[in-house]
Every structure is written in C-alpha cells, then in structure tokens.
Point group: C2
Chain length 579, copies 2
C-alpha cells in the first residue's frame, strides 16, 4: 500500500495478513532514509518493525493501550499512527520527537525517555481501568535490557497480582545499549534455547502466563500469538525474540554502534567520519584506564551506558574485570560502589546527569551516611547536554549539592577535571561527585591545583572590586568574558572559580564585603535549589546585592541551547548590561 495513506492503524487492519510483510518492508525503507539523514535510534526500531505492525493489527488501538518502555523504539509506531509525513518528507522530519509524546498523538500514552518504567505505568493504567469499571487491553512493551532496572521488576511483581487483563511484551533482542549484564540474561538465553520451555522461567515464577515467539521478526507468528493473549483476563508475558537492526546489514552486524547513531551513509553504513575532536568521554576513559593499570583495585562502573563513559568494546576489553556494567540499574551501581569502597577497592561510577536521579536514595543512604569514598562522574550535566525533555541535564546540582557528606566539584577545564578526578580517586575521606563541564572544551593556560582536600575553598582568579562574578563549572568562562566587558567600561570585576558546589566559602565571601557591593552567580543548572541560592542566603542579611543566573525551573523539550542561554540572560552582554 501507499504509506502516505496510513492515517491510523485502522487502515492496516483492512490488510490481509500476507500483505503485512510488504508493509514492513516499506516502513523499514522509509525509516532508513530518514534515520540515515538525521540519526537516531536505529537498531531498536529496525528490530521492532514486525512487532509494531502486529500489535496495531491485533489490538484495537487507541482504545487498547500500548505503553512503550524507554520509547526510543516507537518510530514505526509513529509511522502507523498518523505521523507518516514526519518520516516521508524531510521538511516534516522535525514534527515528531524521538520518544512517545501524548501531545503528538492519542496513541502515545506518556512522554517517556528513561528506562524500565513501562510495566509500572501500564500496570497503573490497568488498575485505573478496573477501578473505573472499563474494559480494554493494556499492553506494556519492554526490552530485555530494560528488565535489569529495579522499577521494571517492581512493575512485574505488582502487575502479576492485578488479576485482570495485563499483557507484557518482552522484546528480547539479546542486547541492552551494549551487551546485557545480569543473572536474568542467563534465564532469557535458556528460554530462547528451549523455545520457551526451560525449567526455570523468571516470568512464570512471578506468576505470569507465558508465551514464547522465536520468530520475533515474522509478522504472522506475532499476529498469531498476540491474538491468543488479546482479551486475556489475567496477567501474561509474551516473550518475543527479535533481531536488533533487522533488515539492514550494517546494523545487524554492528549492533552496539547502531543502537543510536548520528547520520550515516545508507549504502555503506559508514558514519560521517569521526572528527576525532577532543571530548570528555575519551579524557575520562584514558585517565581511568591508566589508573586501572596502575592499581588493580581501581574499577569503573556504568549502569548500561559504557559508551557515554568512552568505554567502547575495545576499552572494555582492556579494562577487563575492572570495568563493571551492572545493567540499566543505577541503584545497584551506586550501592555496589559503596560496597566496593567498603572492601578497600576504589570505585568510580560514571553516569548521565538525567539518570543520576534514579539513585538519589542510594547516594544518600548507601554512600553518604556511610561516608564511603565513592567517586561519581556526571556526564551531560549541562544545558549543552541532551535537549529532550526526558534527558535534561539541569537538575543534578540541586540533587547532589544538598545531600550532606558529598563533596561536589565543578571543574572548569580539562586540566582541572583530570586533577580533581585524580585527587578524588586518591583520597578516601569523602564521597566525591565531579560535574563534567558542558559546551566548548576549555584548557587551562597555567597550572591547576592538585589537592582539593581543603573543602569549599573558592579560588579568586582575578582580583578586582565592586563586582564579583562567581562562575561555576561550564560558566567560568562566561564570568571571564563578562569581566572583560566590564573592564572595557572601567569596572574591574573580581572573578571567582568556586570549584565546590556543595558548600559555601564563608571566609572568602565574608572578605568580599569589604570592597564589593554586588556578587553575581552563574550556574549551568536550574536556579531552584541550586548553587546561587546558597550564596544569596549567605548574603541575605548583609548589604551585598546578589544576582543569580541559571535556568528557570521548568521542563523544556528539544530547546536550542543558544536560545535558552539568551532567555536566561546567560550572555556576557546581558550580565554586564544589568550592572
């Protein structure tokens, strides 16, 4: 059929089942043209073409509800639910996000971007349906990788007791972003090997009925099984074995690389050649590889995102057992790191800012209360990080700086970052979090301090009077630029690199009162609960005027960093003009 005529799943339900294969081919072709031009999640979507078609063919969406975990595998779903133009026409490519989004379509239940949530959310819908006395199917689609997250377990555990229609599709493509880690994956492998008949079964142990579909890229097989479970009156798991990257040879072969990629050549599968430009992932990985070689007790932990940390397959191999991927399980990474430190080894956990908040309780209870010297590296904690509403890197300052016990450092340059990382790993007195700066990479012209054990000592890098600008992390350079502009106006501003986000340098701030009337704070995060407010409180009862610059507390989706900077007044011109 002609894809542009698909205005809703009702259109595909008119098709004969044997025509669905052609439909899948067409969808895959269109998908590949857009994704090769724009980049995005390649493998997860290619593996799920047939299952997505089969789901909408069998279930009466939107009356029946499908919740997609992580939802980066919903491009095909979008093509079938009235949004085909955003895949057919380059000028409409940006009309859809890379995740489900209720403001785009009634077929999208939630805005989702974090892993392991769909089973819980869908379980809630099923419960709400039952309380409301309504009847419809509720389906959660969750990947094998996502099952490593605790919330997915909690959702399965509770969902098993619902006693009514609740269908969990486990999309087993034998991969997380990289390879899977965890005992559960042994069970999934045994289920695959036995066509679902293994002695042990994680899902039936939890109380689910269970169906296995080996041919997860065979639309007819999927339709047949989905029909069996439709209108089920009790919780059921359908375990489908799919092929990540299916139907596109480069993605089938290089599964990790094609999980998410930038634009690539459709014929060869080659990405735009890596510019080889300097980046913090490489800086982190090289530094930690060196530390691991020098000390067998040093280890690096990730919760399912090794690539973010610069640990691709080769570096993982080089690190051996000193590199630990716990699966998409931030709670485990944080708590396990505490145990590792307790045993006298030296754990270093790297995590994306937006995922840091999945382990708040562990940072507080398992690490801080116990004073364990765990080191956390926060990636993408910046408005220059990811711009999807589900992946904002703005909230970690308010989170980490307000838990007692943590030393929270904000380096401003590569050299300062490496020095802080080395100090953090060498000391055993405190848990230390380091916020990797965003934006353009900055280098230090002079030497940097190597010892950060005198806590909360800010550094005056330019001594002036009248106005002091405290530029934290990413925005240290903005402080310098503002001071330069002010200098041109004859104002000799003081510039301060605070270095510590977790405390106030009372002594220094006190001395500023002698010859300053105004303090400006700059932070690459939300103002509420953040760094600047601590300075404002410190000076609250004095004559010092404090202006805090940062991001307003709200959710933005797919914002443009430069525009956001302007909207927040975070430009040298704007700050200088306000004085």
């Amino acid at each position: 059929m002609e894809l542009e005529k698909i205005s809703s799943p009702a259109d595909i339900r008119k098709l004969d089942i044997k025509d669905l294969n052609n439909l899948c081919d067409e969808l895959r072709k269109v998908f590949l043209v857009k994704i090769s031009a724009r980049g995005g999640h390649v493998g997860p979507n290619l593996g799920l073409v047939e299952a997505t078609v089969a789901l909408h063919y069998v279930f009466d969406t939107p009356q029946d509800k499908i919740v997609f975990d992580v939802s980066h595998q919903t491009y095909i779903h979008k093509m079938l639910t009235g949004r085909i133009n955003a895949f057919l026409y380059p000028e409409a490519y940006d009309d859809v996000t890379g995740y489900t989004n209720p403001s785009e379509s009634e077929y999208d239940l939630f805005t989702i971007g974090h892993t392991s949530t769909a089973v819980s959310l869908a379980g809630g819908i099923a419960k709400g349906r039952d309380l409301s006395g309504e009847k419809y199917n509720v389906v959660a689609l969750v990947g094998d990788g996502s099952l490593s997250g605790g919330e997915a377990f909690e959702g399965l555990d509770e969902g098993a007791t619902l006693g009514s229609n609740f269908i969990v599709i486990v999309n087993d493509n034998e991969m997380s972003i990289a390879e899977n880690h965890g005992g559960l994956y042994g069970n999934l492998a045994r289920l695959r090997e036995t066509n679902g008949m293994a002695d042990d079964n994680y899902f039936t142990a939890l109380g689910y009925d269970y169906f296995y579909v080996e041919e997860g890229n065979d639309v007819a097989a999927l339709v047949e099984t989905f029909r069996k479970v439709k209108n089920s009156v009790r919780p059921v798991v359908v375990h489908i074995h799919t092929d990540k990257g299916h139907g596109y040879a480069p993605a089938e072969e290089h599964k990790e690389q094609f999980h998410y990629t930038g634009p690539f050549d459709l014929t060869t599968g080659k990405s735009t050649p890596d510019s080889g430009s300097e980046n913090y992932a490489d800086i982190f990985a090289n530094e930690m590889l060196a530390q691991m070689k020098a000390n067998p007790k040093v280890c690096v932990l990730t919760a399912g995102t090794p690539g973010v940390l610069g640990f691709g397959p080769e570096r993982r191999k080089e690190a051996g057992r000193q590199f630990i991927d716990v699966g998409i399980a931030e709670q485990e990474a944080a708590a396990m790191a505490s145990g590792i430190a307790k045993a006298g080894a030296r754990p270093c956990f790297g995590v994306v800012s937006s995922f840091l908040q999945r382990a708040y309780d562990q940072f507080s209870q398992d690490i801080a209360i116990n004073g364990m010297p765990v080191v956390v590296n926060i990636f993408y904690g910046s408005l220059f990080g990811m711009t999807d509403v589900t992946h904002l890197g703005w909230f970690d300052i308010a989170l980490m700086s307000n838990i007692p016990g943590w030393v929270f450092l904000a380096p401003t340059s590569v050299e300062e970052y490496v020095a802080m990382l080395r100090w953090a790993m060498a000391q055993t007195d405190y848990p230390v979090a380091i916020r990797i700066p965003g934006g353009a990479i900055r280098h230090e012209s002079g030497p940097v301090d190597t010892d950060y054990s005198a806590l909360n000592r800010y550094k005056i890098t330019r001594r002036g009077s009248g106005v002091a600008i405290i530029g934290s992390g990413t925005f240290y350079e903005l402080a310098e630029q503002t001071a330069d502009l002010l200098a041109a106006r004859g104002i000799n501003a003081t510039v301060i690199n605070p270095r510590y986000l977790s405390g106030v340098d009372s002594e220094m701030l006190e001395t500023l009162k002698n010859d300053h009337q105004t303090v400006i704070t700059l932070e690459d995060g939300v103002l509420d609960g953040g760094f600047g407010e601590k300075i404002a409180r410190f000076y609250g009862s004095s004559n010092m005027k404090v202006h805090c610059y940062g991001i307003e507390k709200k959710f933005l989706d797919r914002y443009r960093p430069k525009e956001l900077l302007k909207a927040c007044g975070l430009t040298a011109e704007s700050i200088a003009a306000s004085l």
Copy 2:
C-alpha cells in the same frame, strides 16, 4: 552460658551445637525484657534468633562479612558481638542504636535503615574483595518483604554474575511489615509448600544455587546448611523459613502489631493503652475512606507501610481494592499512580518523608513531565519525625520543591490539611504533594481556604510592617509566637503562611518592599536547597534583609528535637532576639 561473658562470636563457637538452643532461649528472654521496656522491632528479631546464632557460629565473623538488610533485625547480632550489656542493663540500653552501625562495632558493615539495599552492598563487598585478591565469605541477609524493592532485584541480578563467593540468606517469615504483596510471594509460597522443590524458582532463574531450610528456627538445621554454603565459590541463595515473633506468643499471634511497637507488658503483650490522641494517620485514613466510599475511582497507595497511613487491617478491609499496597517499592507506587491517573482514576500515595527519595526519578519523569494529577501525602516530614540518621524527615523540601510541575503544599493545621487534601484530590490539573506538619497538632480558629488553584499565593495572616515572618508548615505557629514576642517590644510584625513550598509569591513579596526591611523564613527542613533560599534569591538584588531559619545540612543520629530546635535558633526567643 552466662550471656554477659559473650564478648564476641568466638565465645559461642566454643559451644557444642546442642548448647545453642539454650543460648537462643537466653538471648530471647533478655531481648524481650529490654524490648518490652523500651519498644522497638519485636517480630523481626524474635524470628531471627536461631539464624543469627547459626550465622555467627558457622561464619568467621568479622573476617567473614554479614550485611543485614534494613538492619532492624540485628538486636541479637548486637548481643553476640560485644554489645550484650546494652541489652542486660537498663542504664546501658541507649548505648546501641536499633540498626547496624560501624561506629559501634567492626561486626557492623554499614549504617542501614532503608529496605532492599543489603544484596547490592554485599555484592559490592564481594566484588571489592575479588579486586583486592582477598578471600572471605560475604553474606547478605535479606527478608522476604525486602525482596519487593527494585534495588534488591538489581542486587540479585548483578550478584548472580559475580562468579565467586556470594551468599544470600533469604529470611522468609511470610510477612513484610504487614502482609506481602507481589507475584514473587506466590513463588515463595510454592517453594515453602514443596520444601524448595517447586517447578519455578525465582532464585535459580536468576542463576543462583539454591538451598531451602524449612525449619528456620531450628539452629541445628541452619548450622548444617550454612556449613554447606560456607566457602562456596559461586553465588548461592539459602532460603530459610522463619516464624516472625517466634517464641513469644503475643508476637506470633499479632505479627503486624509486633513488627514494631512501643513498650508493652511482657506477660500479657498489651501495649500501654492507646491514648486515642489525635494524629494525622487517623485524619488521613478517615478522610480517604470517606472519599473512597463516595467515589469508586479514588484509591490510596502505600509502599509497604499501611500503618503509617492509618490503614490497619480493618481499614484496609473496608477500603477493599481501593487500597493498594505495592510492597516496599516506592518507584512502583509513584509510577503506578501515574498510570492510574492516566486511566482517569484518582490515586493518592502516602509515603514517609525519608522514603520519598527512593522515587525521585518517578516523581520527575513518570509523573511531573507527564503532568499526571497524582496526590502525594508526605508523612513524618519534620524534625519532630523519626530521629534515626537513616530516617530523617528533613530532605523532602529540597527534593520535591525543585522538581518542575509539582504543587507542593505545606498545611499548618488539621483543617488546612484536610482542605488541601480535598482540593488536591478534586482537581486534575497538577501533581500535588502535601507535607503533613510535625509537632503538636494545631487547629484553625477560623475558616480555611478550600481552593488552592491560584498557585503560589501566600497568605498574610497578620499585617504589620518592618519585619515579615514567613512561617511554613510546622513552623507557622513559631512565626505567630515570634510575632507575639516582637509585639511586646512594640514591633508589629507581619506574619505569612506561604502554603506553597514549590514557588514564590512574587507579587506579595514585591509589595512587602514598601514597608518592610526584614523578612524571616522558617522551615521544618534543611536550609540547603530549601524554601528560604528561594526567598533569599528573590530579594538578592534588593535592599530587603532575609534571614533563613531551618536545619543545617548534615546527618544527625538520634537527636533530641528540642535541642536541635535550639541549635538551629528555631525558638521564638532566639528569632526575636536576633532583630
């Protein structure tokens, strides 16, 4: 033997195995005398007497490491590890906390009070041991109730892959604090019924070797099995079936009541008669029972602590399927509530302040980004709440008030609380969190507002000039008292009930500039990231002086509320004197 002579587990290892039964009897008797006088966790400790003795008898503690989940079942462990005097002698009763505590003893690995963390922490120790090239046994002891938490799953999943010694003891007493909830408990029941031979096995599915001990209160049976797994070179689960409250008839009979209790009469098991005094648990439960009766779509959720919400067995029965206990799984409760709201029903989640932080990501992603009208009631969010370091109720303001989208309300009285709860449940525009005030119950003398839909409107309750005191939540009354003291000095202070912790009433604060020079903020939480700092930032660039009162950012253990108030200057005399 004479208990006072037990200075370490080495002393009990000299005993013949048949003498261990007598030892258990003695330990149980001494435990009961103290616990009946002081209160504490009764059932969990009684059920674990034999297992604790057997663990220390078989394993070479402290070289071998035992991590106790939640650690409220460690009273017997403390008696065996050099702290017997704190159980024998009333004057020494306070020498130990109710949880493991490394500052008390090298036999205590971590300070633990939150559920579901032990498997992860112990897994970390095992990994750190292996990286360090050392050899010893690592044991995690975890209750069946704790297995409902996602972190416990993550820990089991990762632990199964360690490939070396890692022993998980599952203490199955068929109870959480109240009854268990979740599909997993069906599997545990089938394992108990089949002496561990059921077809499905959650633990072997995850890759563990597995042993079952039906007689979990038979010390010889436990010793025999622990000896089998000691020095195991791969991960193993020992599933022991214990009897919560074992050996004390009232606790065996009333398991939920005796999970944790205040002092009681040892002969009869009767608690000091309930004074029947007014409390927020009853107020919440009665209000919600009325709402549930009026509307079948209204439901109340708890994550394993129904008693905290005032929902004892009778009220749970009355609420029927409208009361949902998801197990000790705060992530699930929050995400499921979002799904319930999505389906058009009305979820109300009650949670202890200290456990709120276990679902930060779900409050942000699953609820706030999706704008789902979930209502959260925060219990014990106050310095008058729980005083153990692992259960502090001080951090929820900084957490909840800084997530975009939430309306965070701080009632100051019973009437205001009920009005806010009714408004929150009736509206569907926002997720709403309500912080139940601490300290003495306060009543309103006049009518209260019933509509809170005009967000961030503070209320001036006493109009003065010069000084304005913003008294939030618990401390509204302190604002009144301070104003009274100032009035006696001829200062006619303004008193403000801010009602909203999630935003600033810019308009009102702006008008205060006309005739006020000083604003005082009072909050029942940590200052860092809290309410007062928002006010300080607002006035940062003006001439208004702002003094913020609250709790300093640090961990305290078993503090005395009145002393802490004084230390923080949170008395009317102190605040008034500072002006």
